[in-house]
Symmetry: C2
Subunit: 293 residues, 2 copies
DNA sequence: AGCGTCGATCAGCAGGACTTATGGCCGCCG
DNA sequence: CGGCGGCCATAAGTCCTGCTGATCGACGCT
């Protein structure tokens, strides 16, 4: 019924299939089965989409009523579940795009009022471990997890720029941004490799291929929190990488500049245990996935 | 939801499973899944059955509302289907127990107002052929069909008695009924073997094992309609087999008597194409099956 | 005519739903 | 108090539904 309502509202199967997050053939079959079950033609198909027949219009209003009643029932029972609704533990990386979570979390809270969200700041590697140990429900990580036990979808993609002191920036900036090889000679303010090995290796490989000599890796324990980054850059003769949303709240001595040609793209994935079947988690994932379209 | 309502109404899973025509584990799993999905304990299990929790009671009323709305929707659309509801062709044997079909057919008409029922009088063999040819939707037959293409459930069981002239009956009747071997010397008013070979063979084997000598089989074309039976018996020195409901409307010259020990039991099955998925047919079968409990 | 989109159909696959068989638990009765 | 019979949960196995990706014919648009 939900599928049927979606099809009529979207005016076509393909559009509805996208909205329902399933394939067009599946939806076609579902509607066909519904018609067979009811023994009525519900839709007239054309190459431009579908239109409801008289019976289809009847079902549309009836189905909306049924679904409304159904949702109401679910809400009533969920209210009973009350405080004991599950706790959803989310892992958060440093420098998360600021508006990535707001929409999906609001969405989640509306759909599953019983679910409490708990966020932990953790490195990618720590999140993977926590996920596998069941200490985390979703992780936002900087590399696609490997192995069949974790599933993931990409939820963000940021074209990194550089943070430089004003005087360094003036020397090497060009109209379309800073060229990566122009950074040669400056120290890279890096992060410890153990936090996210695959991403670290990808990043350093690109830097090296542009002629940059990287100093020794950052010490293992040290997290690259924004203050550390800024302090290091301010001290001079160093650069740090940062996504565009760093542009705004910076001291006067440091500026953010884009990189010419965007050679560095940082991706973020949402990862979760493949065998998790939590409804609220699924809802959040779908919301995250949808918000990136 | 329907399952949950049934469980609460029946006061236990096993009872509800019987009502829903599925196994107890299946229902147990279904309810378990519902609880997981809603994240609430709905029932408290005990060794005597189940009781609804507070959340369960909430769901009970809500679910009833949803189901009512759902049924209403189905009815509204079915009304649209109107006259074009399918035609259900039923095969009927001779001497069908008179009240076998009334209840289930009324039930069917209520649930599927669009379905028209068409009955055909056919022998068992003819019904099997018609079923396989798709000319019949259900058959009421006297032998269990063989082969995986037809499914069947038993829907009736009749202890056959005998029809005799009054004078013959007086000679051999005993308090608990007529003994089969006492019929030796009388002619059997039989039916053509081709109409139902397996049943014919079973029947004649039992008769012969009681010392009866059977004349030549009835001619192939001839159907044993009640009038023929009666005429043959009235002519004297012959007996015919008949189920108990023949007791009443008989001429004064012929009587129906039970057989001592009920050696002859005639069973009737409802048979249908195993690959048929018609909802109305399924409903009828279930109703027939239920009415025989 | 060529392309893009729409919906239907096909084959293949995975997960769900049902089944039977079994085990633990409790109330009942000898 | 032990055996018995009901209840429900779990386990293992089978089957079928529902989904996907690929492909097809149909129509509209350029």
């Amino acid at each position: 019924m939900r599928a049927f309502v979606a099809v009529v509202e979207e005016g076509g199967m393909s559009a509805a299939a996208r909205r329902l997050h399933l394939s067009q053939p599946a939806l076609s079959q579902t509607i066909g089965a519904l018609e067979r079950e009811l023994g009525v033609e519900l839709l007239v198909r054309s190459s431009t989409g579908v239109a409801a027949t008289e019976a289809g219009l009847t079902l549309l209003t009836e189905a909306r009523a049924v679904l409304a009643r159904h949702d109401q029932a679910a809400a009533a029972v969920a209210r009973h579940a009350g405080a004991c609704g599950g706790i959803l533990k989310i892992g958060i990386p440093l420098e998360l795009p600021p508006d990535l979570l707001t929409g999906p979390l609001a969405d989640l809270a509306a759909a599953y009022p019983g679910t409490r969200v708990l966020a932990h700041h953790l490195s990618t590697a720590a999140q993977m471990a926590a996920l596998r140990a069941g200490e985390l429900d979703v992780g936002l990580v900087r590399e696609h997890p490997i192995g069949p036990d974790l599933d993931a979808v990409q939820v963000a993609e940021e074209r990194l720029g550089v943070l430089l002191t004003v005087e360094d920036a003036e020397k090497i900036s060009e109209p379309e941004g800073i060229r990566l090889d122009a950074l040669a000679g400056l120290d890279w303010v890096g992060f410890p490799r153990s936090g996210s090995p695959a991403w670290y290796d990808e990043l350093t490989a690109i830097l090296r291929s542009h002629g940059l000599e990287l100093g020794p890796p950052a010490p293992e324990g040290q997290e690259l929190i924004p203050e550390v980054k800024l302090a290091a850059v301010t001290a001079g003769h160093a650069f740090a990488l940062a996504p565009p949303h760093w542009r705004h709240p910076l001291p006067d001595t440091v500026v953010w500049s884009p990189l010419a040609g965007h050679p560095l793209v940082r991706r973020t994935w949402a990862a979760w245990k493949a065998d998790s079947h939590r409804r609220d988690l699924g809802h959040l994932i779908v919301a995250l996935d949808r918000s990136t379209r």
